[in-house]
């Protein structure tokens, strides 16, 4: 007997956002990366389009990431002091689709590096890899607000993905993106309503930016409220497909940032014999978190462990196979 397959028809779709800019487009990237554009729930190719596969960005810091566990640090031992080399290794050896630079050195309590220092690092990375870049500040809003303008200006036309606009602090990064033709990350604290509110606030500063926003819904790591993030993703995706244009942005998740601070990522098998080998477990923790998120509809995963990146990319290959 023929089963009548259930196919949902949606009114709308996720906006498509282009990251990076090639020479012809005013930048220096060897290629751009498109995200979003889905017309159905994730990987249900039988009822809609998923024109762009989820992509993986790998993190590059401008200081030595002392807090990373040795099992993770060891991958990058040879490139710590050179952000350019680090980025190159991620792209060429580990297959990163994007590079996410964190200007940790700008933190007033670390090195209090100036905007010029950050720009120098940025230029180095721009020179060493051809993929589009994501830029994060140090995480302290006062300092980040002061450096984001100059950084955005120095890379005018590159269409960086600038982090992060938050509900209480969205104006400087929005202005920087508007003035110098970049895209922005709109970050909200695990709350779908605030995610939408922030998009509205940004759009009221600049309507054209609506097509250059990436939502960071702030994800929780596996075992730390991941289900909350998962459901927010599902609701947001479902809402966008049903016509909520203010939620219909592609999404980004700081998977590595969340996972690698957790006990599961660092504690040794000696201390938790029931949990098995630390190196493999921590890698699997990051990969599983990422996997759950792409099931919810995540478009950009910012990750750290090269093996986890490899696994996720392979899994995405499988998930992108036609299933109609």
């Amino acid at each position: 007997m023929a089963v009548e397959v259930s196919k949902e028809k949606y009114r709308s779709q996720v906006r498509e956002v282009v990251l990076g800019a090639t020479k012809e487009e005013g930048g220096t990237r060897s290629h751009t990366v498109k995200v979003g554009g889905e017309t159905a729930l994730p990987f249900l190719h039988f009822e809609g389009e998923m024109p762009n596969r989820p992509v993986v960005a790998m993190e590059v810091w401008d200081i030595v990431p002392e807090e990373w566990p040795a099992s993770l640090k060891s991958y990058f031992e040879d490139v710590y002091d050179d952000a350019g080399a680090w980025a190159k290794k991620c792209v060429e050896q580990y297959g990163a689709d994007l590079i996410a630079i964190r200007f940790k050195s700008a933190d007033p309590d670390i090195k209090d590096a100036s905007a010029e220092d950050c720009i120098a690092t940025l230029k180095k990375v721009l020179g060493s890899v051809g993929v589009p870049l994501i830029v994060y500040g140090c995480g302290k809003s006062d300092k980040d607000n002061s450096i984001i303008g100059p950084i955005a200006e120095a890379a005018e036309g590159e269409n960086l993905l600038l982090g992060v606009a938050e509900q209480d602090n969205y104006k400087s990064v929005t202005s920087a993106a508007m003035a110098h033709k970049h895209s922005i990350i709109a970050q909200s604290p695990i709350d779908i309503n605030i995610a939408k509110q922030l998009n509205i606030l940004i759009s009221e500063m600049s309507t054209p930016l609506l097509d250059r926003i990436i939502i960071d819904p702030t994800v929780a790591a596996l075992g730390y409220g991941l289900e909350y993030s998962y459901s927010i993703m599902e609701r947001a995706r479902f809402g966008s497909l049903q016509g909520d244009r203010m939620l219909a942005m592609p999404t980004i998740a700081n998977v590595g940032h969340e996972v690698w601070s957790k006990k599961e990522a660092s504690i040794s098998a000696d201390d938790e014999p029931g949990w098995g080998d630390q190196a493999e477990r921590s890698m699997a923790w990051e990969a599983t978190t990422a996997m759950a998120l792409i099931q919810g509809g995540m478009d950009i995963l910012v990750m750290r462990n090269p093996r986890a990146v490899e696994l996720i990319k392979k899994s995405i290959d499988d998930l992108m196979q036609d299933n109609s």
Binding site: Q167, K171, N193, I194, K196, Q197, I200, E204, M246
Partner: protein, 640 residues
Amino acid sequence: MNRKVVFLPEEVSLEVLPGTPLLRAAALAGIEVKSSCGGKGSCSRCLVKVEEGKAIVKSTGKLSGEEQEQGYVLSCQALVGDQDLRVNIPISSRLEEHRILFNSPDNVDGEEEAYGAYDGYPLCTRFQLSLEPPSIDDNTSDLTRLMMALRREMGKSSPETEIKINTAALRGLAKALRERNWNLSVVMTYFPGNVEVITAAAGQNEKPLYGLAIDIGTTTVAIYLVDLLNGKTVLHHGSFNRQSRYGDDIISRIIYASEDEKGLNELHDSVIGTINEIIGQILQQAGINEEEILQVVTAGNTTMTHLFLGVPPDFIRLEPYIPTFSSTPAVKAKDLGLRVHPEAWVHSFPQVASYLGGDIVSGILYADLAENDEIVLFVDIGTNGEIVLGNKDWMVGCACSAGPSFEGGGITFGMRAMSGAIERVVVDPVSLEVQVKTVNNVKPLGICGSGLIDCLSALKTAGIIDRSGKFQSDLKSARLRSGEEGLEYVLVWADDSGVEKDIFLTEGDLKNLIMAKGAVYAAIRTLLRTLELDESVISKVIIAGGFGNYLHIQDAIRIGLLPDLEYEKFEFIGNSSLKGAKLGLLSRKALNKARKIGNMITYIELSVGTIFMDEYVSALFLPHTDITLFPSVESVENRN
């Protein structure tokens, strides 16, 4: 031992024991001082100035050094020490008479039509009897004779139940019968299980028969003196609930009542005292004595009803929020110490839940929800927002904590809707200049709830704040400036204000206000979503309570406080708690219906489940995160 304290500018003096807080001393002297935090030293509303002598200061709270030097103290934190004192209580620290609500707007006399329920089933009435005197042949007792006459008189409406008589009436019966040749006027009261002769007096009585309908509010108490024979309200009076000195909000009062052994008694005495004082004014004005008031019906929220009856309210605020009683039997006035006839029965409206009380049941009764096929939304906005949705078949209700913003609490220059309160705000979108209108058109002292809603709407429309309630920091206006708590917007310059200071709003004020409106709207949405309904099912929105009367529907919708429905669907019914109590006072059918209403409302606990939390965050935006819920606002903004 005692020290003398003189309060200025009245020059009222009294003697108190050292160690007495000035706040308490002022209350003893009959001056009510604001005390929003209930004497904990955190709200700074009870500011007074010690002009002579020295008080013992326990804590200076948030007072500046300068203020302290000038002699300002928090009256709850300053104790009488070993010196006599002269203390000035500024107007801004006093609880003043504010608008106590009796009727629908501009409609003092138009209420009668609602009393069609006065229906031949009185709760309390009077019979003029002329009995056959006894004789040797007809030797039944006085009482039996009276009962037979009453049964005849009551005819068909006579209940099957036994007619009782209270001891006092029985004791006077023989004399009363014989004093005016077996002519007697008898006051009867009826309610299930009790048909009772309240008084039996000699002769005919053509004077009105009085009863009281009382609305016991957390903030104010309002009373109607009603002629039970014709259903007319003879006069009304109201005043602040004197419990306010134990804190503005219900929670502080419950805590006070449950922490301190004397606490419950103090709160009980204080509300009875408030009522008796108002009765005193009524008696004086009407030229009657207290024995002439023979029936009382009260409606209040659950906590107020508990405290009125002297029942501990402790468990109302503890999960799972259980009140001691929902439907309460009537009690005799003499047991409560009310200044009415001691044998008069006092009925209290039933509660639905700890935060959905008899005042709401009374409002629902008055608004006639239980007779309607159409679905009606009933909203009572105060510190708590109480919301009921339903029709004659079903009703759901909930209570949310809106916080005190709508009553002026938690707002830097917030105040109740009394003289000098800004109630209207207009902002010019080009010049960003502000015009205000105050209650009684005097110099502004602060801003009240309706003014705040106006203001929020106006600031948003003029582009001074964004949708999250934050000031646009790059705005060019002298009114927007950086203050102690971040950005603030000046509504009235010191020169024009009645407090000799600039009157402004801070981002924190706006945030509190947005939280308050968000809670109310989220509660409405939660009721709808719990039943899987949407706004379109609502045929009418009834807005009860004092706040409603001064509300601009348009602004309330534009800030996302009320659902975006056609204006014609909104109806203000004023103090429906008081009006419902009057219905109950006149008709035992109405009183029974109130019982039924109390029994049929399904209480929805907002803290269970995640719908409310989700709706709440969604509502913390102007007007709302989901703009499709506010199509009229969207279209206005698109036009702009």
